[in-house]
C-alpha cells in the first residue's frame, strides 16, 4: 500500500485489496472504477478519500446520492454559472470507499468564455437571492411531497383488481407501475440534487471572496475568525432540536408526562402509557405535529440508509427528551439562543470593521460582507431539506420496494435492497414483474440475489477493518474549486500530514495531530472515538469526542462533551460551527484522528493552534 517515494501517494491503478474484499467491483457502476481506458487522465489528477460523505463502506444503492451530486455540483461550476478556472469534482470507488478529485482547470480560451457568462448569470442570482430562495423552498417541498405520494405495491395481487379493468380499463398494471415507480424515485432523487446545488457553489465562492478581502485588510486573520463572521446559525437544522426542547418543556409542565418519559420503559411502552392520560395524549399529539418535517432528520449524516431517522428510531429523540427533562428539573436552560449567536457574529464584524483604516476599504468590506451574507443563508438552510428530509423520504420509499421483494420471496430482508445499485434494482423488479406476468409457479432466481446480498454485506463488513490510503496520485500545487477547501478542508498542509501518516510511522507513535483551529479554547480529557454513527450512545459526559465528522442530528451530544476532534472538515463544517456556539474547543480536519486516537486516551485539544496532543495513552 505505502508508496516509498516521498511526496506522492499510490497510483490508483495499482492498489492491492485485502482478499476479503474480492468482488467489490461489481457492487458499483463500472464508470466508478479506475480504468485502463482513462488511465492517463486519472493519473494526472489528485484523488483523496471523501470522508465527509463516505466515512464508511458504501452500500451500493446509497451511491445514488453521489452519482447525483457528481453531476450537479460540477454542472453549476462548469456549465451553468461558469466559474472560469474551476471544473468539477470527479468520483471513483476504491474498494467500498469513495475518492474524489477537483479536476484541473480548463484551457485558457474556455476560461475566457466562461468569464463572460459568469458575470451575467451570477450577479443576477445575488440581486434576486430572496425571491429565488422563496421559489426554491416551494419547489423543493413540492418535490418531496411528490416523492411521498409515489405508490409502491407491497405485494403483487393474484389477479388485477376489478376496478382497474371494469368499466374503464387502466390499460397498464402493476408489472409496469412498480418499475415506473422506481424510475420516478430515481429521477426525483437526481432532480432534488440538481436543486441542492442551485446556489451552493456561489455561496462558497462568495465565502472565499470574503476570506480574501479579510486577508488583504488583516494579513494575519485566521480562517476561524472569517468563519465566525460569515457563518450564522443553521436555522432549519436547529429546528429538530428546538422541537425537542419545546416538547421537553411541555412534558415538565404537564401532569404525569415527565415521569413516564423519564422512566426506563421502551418507547412503545412510554407511548402506550402516555396515551392513557389526558396530558399524555395531548403531548403525543404535539409530538406528532413536530414530526413532519422536523423529525425527518437523519440520525446520521443522511447519506446512509442504515442511519435511520428520528422517525424510524424514536428511541433517539426520546432519549434526548429524557435528558432535557432532567436538565430542566435541575434548573438548567436547554435552549440555545440563536439571537445570541447572531448578535455575537454582528459584534465581531463590527469590531473588525472598526479596525479598517480607510473609508474606501471600509466601503468595499461592507459590500463584500453584504454579498456573502446575502447568499450564505443558502448554505445554512438547504441542508435540512435535502440531506435529511428528502433523503429520509427516499429511504422510506425504497424500503417499500424492499418489502415487496421480501414478500415476493426475492430477498430475505427489507434492507437487502440497498445491497444492489440503482441499475440493478430495475433488473430485479423486471424479473419479479416477468415471473408474475408469466403466471403461477414460475421460478424466481431468489437464491442468486440472496447470495449476492449476503456476499456484499460481508464485503462491506470486512471493509470496515481496512484502512485505505487517504489519497492517490500526485498532490497539486493549487486548486480552483470552491468546495475543495471550504468543505473538505484540503490544503497543502493537510496533504503533507497525510503523507506523514502514510509512512512507516505507526499510529501508536503519533502523539500530535494538526488540523484547523476551528473553535477557540483548550480542553484536556478522555477521548471517545466514535467511528460509527451508531456509537453516539456510548458517549459519556465530559469526554472529548473524536469522530470522522459530525452532522446536525448529533447536536444534543454537544451539550455533553468537552471538545471535538474530527478527521475531515474545514472551518465551516458542522462540528466547528456547533462547537463555537457551545464555546467548546474544536480541531477539525486532522486527517486521521479516529485511527490514531483510541477511546480512553487522555488528549489535549487546542482550538487556538489547531493541535491535538495525546497526553497519555489508555492503559
Amino acid at each position: 500500500m505505502v508508496d516509498e517515494k516521498a511526496g506522492r501517494f499510490p497510483d490508483p491503478h495499482e492498489i492491492e485489496f485485502p482478499p476479503e474484499l474480492e468482488g467489490w467491483e461489481e457492487m458499483y457502476p463500472s464508470h466508478y472504477l479506475f480504468s485502463k481506458e482513462r488511465e492517463g487522465w486519472e493519473k494526472s489528477q489528485f484523488w483523496y478519500q471523501d470522508k465527509i460523505h463516505d466515512p464508511e463502506p458504501m452500500p451500493p444503492l446509497d451511491l445514488i446520492f453521489h452519482e447525483a451530486w457528481q453531476i450537479s455540483l460540477a454542472q453549476y461550476t462548469t456549465r451553468v454559472f461558469c466559474i472560469p478556472p474551476a471544473q468539477g469534482i470527479a468520483q471513483r470507488m476504491v474498494g467500498p470507499y469513495m475518492y474524489i478529485c477537483a479536476i484541473n482547470p480548463p484551457p485558457d480560451e474556455v476560461m475566457g468564455e466562461k468569464a463572460q457568462l459568469f458575470e451575467k448569470r451570477v450577479f443576477y442570482v445575488f440581486e434576486h437571492y430572496n425571491e429565488i430562495w422563496d421559489k426554491w423552498i416551494i419547489k423543493f417541498k413540492a418535490l418531496g411531497e411528490e416523492m411521498k405520494a409515489v405508490e409502491i405495491p407491497h405485494e403483487l395481487p393474484k389477479f388485477v383488481p376489478e376496478d382497474q379493468v371494469l368499466p374503464a380499463p387502466t390499460g397498464c398494471y402493476v408489472s409496469h407501475d412498480m418499475k415506473e415507480a422506481f424510475d420516478i424515485l430515481v429521477n426525483q432523487m437526481f432532480k432534488g440534487w440538481q436543486y441542492h446545488f442551485e446556489m451552493l457553489n456561489l455561496t462558497y465562492l462568495a465565502y472565499l471572496m470574503f476570506g480574501d478581502v479579510c486577508r488583504k485588510l488583516f494579513p494575519g486573520i485566521s480562517e476561524s475568525a472569517i468563519g465566525k463572521m460569515v457563518a450564522g446559525a443553521y436555522v432549519s437544522m436547529f429546528r429538530p432540536e428546538e422541537e425537542l426542547c419545546r416538547l421537553s418543556r411541555l412534558a415538565v409542565s404537564s401532569r404525569g408526562v415527565a415521569d413516564i418519559l423519564k422512566s426506563d420503559m421502551a418507547v412503545d411502552q412510554k407511548i402506550a402509557e402516555l396515551d392513557k392520560i389526558p396530558d399524555g395524549k395531548h403531548w403525543l399529539e404535539e409530538y406528532d405535529k413536530a414530526k413532519d418535517p422536523w423529525f425527518y432528520v437523519s440520525c446520521g449524516s443522511g447519506w446512509f440508509h442504515y442511519e435511520g431517522s428520528w422517525l424510524s428510531k424514536p428511541d433517539i429523540p426520546y432519549s434526548y427528551i429524557q435528558s432535557y427533562i432532567e436538565r430542566l428539573e435541575n434548573g438548567e436552560t436547554i435552549e440555545r439562543s440563536l439571537d445570541k449567536i447572531e448578535k455575537e457574529r454582528d459584534e465581531i464584524v463590527a469590531k473588525y470593521r472598526e479596525l479598517i483604516e480607510s473609508d474606501e476599504d471600509r466601503k468595499a468590506f461592507d459590500d463584500a460582507y453584504k454579498t456573502v451574507r446575502t447568499i450564505y443563508v443558502f448554505a445554512e438552510d438547504h441542508l435540512f431539506w435535502v440531506e435529511h428530509w428528502f433523503h429520509t423520504i427516499w429511504f422510506d420509499k425504497i424500503r417499500e420496494f424492499g418489502t415487496l421483494l421480501v414478500n415476493t420471496g426475492m430477498l430475505n430482508e427489507v434492507d437487502d435492497i440497498f445491497m444492489f445499485n440503482r441499475y440493478e434494482v430495475p433488473e430485479i423488479l423486471t424479473e419479479v414483474a416477468t415471473a408474475w406476468a408469466l403466471g403461477v409457479d414460475v421460478p424466481l432466481r431468489s437464491d442468486y440475489y440472496q447470495a449476492k446480498a449476503d456476499k456484499r454485506k460481508k464485503i462491506l463488513e470486512a471493509a470496515r477493518e481496512w484502512t485505505p490510503t487517504p489519497a492517490l496520485g500526485v498532490p497539486p500545487e493549487e486548486v480552483a474549486e470552491p468546495f475543495t477547501i471550504m468543505l473538505w478542508g484540503i490544503t497543502t498542509d493537510k496533504v503533507k500530514e497525510w503523507l506523514k501518516g502514510m509512512g512507516e510511522v505507526s499510529t501508536e507513535d503519533v502523539s500530535e495531530l494538526k488540523g484547523f483551529a476551528s473553535s477557540a479554547g483548550v480542553a484536556e480529557g478522555p477521548a471517545r472515538v466514535l467511528k460509527r454513527l451508531g456509537e453516539i450512545m456510548d458517549l459519556q459526559p465530559g469526554e472529548i469526542m473524536v469522530c470522522p465528522n459530525t452532522n446536525p442530528s448529533w447536536a444534543p451530544v454537544f451539550g455533553k462533551i468537552k471538545a471535538a476532534v474530527t478527521d475531515i472538515g474545514g472551518l465551516t463544517c458542522h462540528a466547528a460551527i456547533v462547537c463555537r456556539e457551545y464555546g467548546l474547543p474544536s480541531v477539525t480536519g486532522t486527517g486521521f484522528a479516529t485511527s490514531v486516537i483510541k477511546t480512553g486516551d487522555i488528549i489535549k485539544v487546542d482550538g487556538e493552534t489547531g493541535v491535538v496532543t495525546i497526553v497519555e495513552r489508555a492503559g
Binding site: F118, I348, I356, E478, D493, A520
Partner: protein, 356 residues
Amino acid sequence: MDYILDFELLDKTSLPMAGGKNASLGEMIKSGIRVPPGFAVTTDSYLNFITETGIKDKIYEILSHLQSDDVDALNKASAEIQGLINSTSMNNEVQWAIESGYSQLCKKCNVKQVPVAVRSSATAEDLPTASFAGQQDTYLWVVGTDNIINSVRKCWASLYTPRAIDYRNRNDFPHEKVLISVGVQKMVNSRAAGVMFTLNPTNGDPSKVVIEGSWGLGETVVSGSVNPDKFVVDKVVMETSERTVSVKHIQCVHDPKGGEVIDVDVEEDMQSRCCLEDQEIKELVKIAKGIETHYGRAMDIEWAIDMDFSFPENMFIVQARPETVWSQRKKGPLLGKKSGYQLLMDQAMKRIKIPG
C-alpha cells in the same frame, strides 16, 4: 497650595501645575490604563522653594546680566544657578509634602522604601523648549526621601542648562514665566517585561497585538540582548495565532548594592518557561487596545509586571509612543475601491493557491 498631587488626581487641565508628562500619566490613568503609581511635585513646590529660600532674586539677577553670544558667560551663569538650586536646603513646606507623598506611596506599594523614578515634567509655557528644559532628566532607582529631594532639585536645576537659558533669551521668553514640575513614580519591581505593538510590525496587520516579553526588566527586550517570548493575538476574536517561547538566558535586574541595573543569568528551569500566563497575555491585549483607542492611533508600548502587586493590578504600562513605521507609510485603499461583485469576479478568476 498643592505641593504634590497624586497621579490619579491629574488630567490634561493639570498641565500648568504638573507639566506635560505628569498630566499625560493622569490622563492615562483616567482612561483606564494602568501606570506605576506616583505623584507630581507641582510647579507650586518649585515656586515656593525659590521664593521662600530667597534664591529666586539671585537667579534672575544672574540671568539679567547675560549678553547674547557670550558662550563662556552663559556656561558660567548656568553652573552658578544650578549650583545654587542644588545646594540650597529644601524649605519645610515642600520637604514635608514630598516626605508625606513618598511615605504614602510606600504604603500603597506595601514596600518599606520603594525605589522610584524621579523625572522632570515641563509645563505648557515651556513646551517649545521642551527638549532643552531638562526633559530628559530622569533619575532611576531612587530610594529614600533625602535622595528623592536631591533628585527633585536636580530636575529643577535642569531648567537652567546653557541651552535652555540661551533658547529663552533668543526667543525673548521671560525666565520668570518658566516653571517646572517633577514626577515621582514607583520603579516597577519587574518579574517580566517587554514591548507590545497595536499592529503586527511584520506585516502591518491592524487586527493584531504583538507582544514580546522576557524575564526581569524590559531592557533585554528593547536592546535585543535576549530572544523574547512572542505572542500574536487577534484583537477581535482574541485567538493567539503565534506563540513562541524562547530560551531566555539572561535577565536585567536592579542591583540595590551598586544602585544600577545589571544582567544576570536566568535560573535554568526558568529559561524555557513562558514569561507570561495566559490571563496576563489577555490582559495585555486588553490594555493595548485601550491605549490605541485612547490615542486614536497605532502605538508602541512598554509594559512590565510588578511583583509587589497581584494580578491584574500588577500589569503596568511604563511607556507608550506612536508606532511610526506602518503609521507613516502612505497607504492607498487595499481593496482598490471595488464593489462586492467586482471582488467576486476577481475571486472567480483566481486559481486558489492552497494556503500553507
